[in-house]
């Protein structure tokens, strides 16, 4: 992605060092140079996104590098979000098998 310069965060040289540290800290390696370059771009985008969230947040939260900083938002959602909860909980009949009290 072409990053707007003001949001690009650290300059390319520093960015690669930051990314290197990220890879070491979270034990990340990429299968080929093209994948590395792609992940570096995603990483830079996510740092800029974190900076924007930081400015937008109305609380005291701090955003920045996390174990998920080399994932796109879509990849993160697919990996960690269960299917979206329905607008309302489906009605369900609950029945308990055991009649005897004190049993599970």
């Amino acid at each position: 992605d072409s990053l707007p310069t003001k949001d690009a965060g650290p300059r390319p040289l520093e960015l690669k060092e930051v990314f290197k540290l990220f890879q070491i800290q979270f034990n990340r390696s990429y299968s080929n140079p093209a994948e590395y370059t792609r992940r570096l771009g995603i990483f830079a985008h996510n740092l800029a996104q974190a900076q924007r969230l930081q400015e937008e947040d109305l609380g005291t939260a701090e955003f920045g590098q996390t174990p998920f900083s080399d994932l796109t938002e879509e990849e993160f959602g697919q990996l960690y979000g269960h299917q979206r909860a329905p607008e309302r909980i489906p009605n369900m009949a609950k029945k308990v098998k055991s009649e005897r009290w004190g049993e599970s």
Binding site: T60, E62, P67, F68, R84, A85, K94, K95, V96
Partner: protein
């Protein structure tokens, strides 16, 4: 409702932070944690309950591909309880195994499950009296979260699009940091004290505040008040209940 509550401070009630890895089982981990915590509070028995049973015996059979906490409670009712983590350990593999619940002794069970009011004061009161509950939130901002209290608006975190279940373990209020005179390098807005929820995630202890995170309390940040659901765990009573005299 007390001003603050933190179940992590009670010894042996909240278990260690789990890591769901590549298995989309936050819903099963949150429900198991809820049942286990309530069981420990009610009985003082330090059980560790099986997440894998909820994955393998879920009525949708999705295993690691996602699910809902309310289905987890139905599984526990239908199986008459949960096996121990030791007997029926978490595998985290993609496809669901067949259900092995009948093979193992149950170490904890529930009488029912219920959804609380979406009033955050009511939720806080219930949490303080009975114990941790599960909530389901929009997890979008968590990808970048490091620490502090997230206070979002519906435009930055849509409260209708909830897709991640976690355990609500307490609440508190962060002191305001009114700047007196000194200009900080970046212009920090002077803040009143910030009420927050304390939530236990299942992404490992390297993430967030040692595996936990905090959300603003009072404006349904990220949809936290949409599905507050908890098991009902009564003290196991051996003798028959008193019956009403004719």
């Amino acid at each position: 409702v007390p001003p603050t509550c933190d179940w992590r401070k009670v010894k042996n009630i909240i278990s260690s932070i789990k890591n769901q890895g590549n298995c989309k089982c936050c819903w099963a981990m949150a429900a198991a944690d809820n049942i286990q915590t309530l069981w420990r509070i009610k009985t003082q028995q330090l059980v560790d309950v099986s997440v894998q049973e909820l994955l393998d015996c879920d009525r949708c059979g999705n295993g690691c591909n996602g699910g809902f906490v309310w289905d987890a409670y139905i599984t526990v009712l239908n199986n008459s309880g949960l096996a121990s983590e030791e007997d029926y350990p978490f595998q985290g593999h993609q496809k669901p195994h067949r259900c092995l619940a009948d093979k193992y002794r149950k170490v904890a069970w529930i009488q029912d499950f219920t959804m609380l009011s979406s009033n955050e004061q009511v939720i806080a009161g219930y949490l303080a009296i009975h114990g941790p509950i599960t909530v389901t939130i929009n997890m979008k901002l968590l990808q970048y979260y490091q620490k502090g209290v997230i206070k979002a608006t519906p435009s930055t975190c849509d409260p209708r699009l909830v897709n991640h279940s976690v355990l609500l373990v307490g609440f508190g209020k962060e002191k305001g940091d009114m700047q007196t005179g000194t200009l900080l390098s970046h212009s920090r807005k002077p803040r009143r004290s910030t009420p927050y929820w304390i939530l236990k995630n299942s992404w490992g202890a390297e993430w967030g505040e040692k595996g936990y995170f905090r959300l603003y309390r009072g404006n349904n940040t990220c949809g936290i008040a949409k599905y507050p659901i908890t098991a009902r765990v009564d003290r196991p009573v051996k003798k028959a209940p008193v019956s009403c005299p004719p």
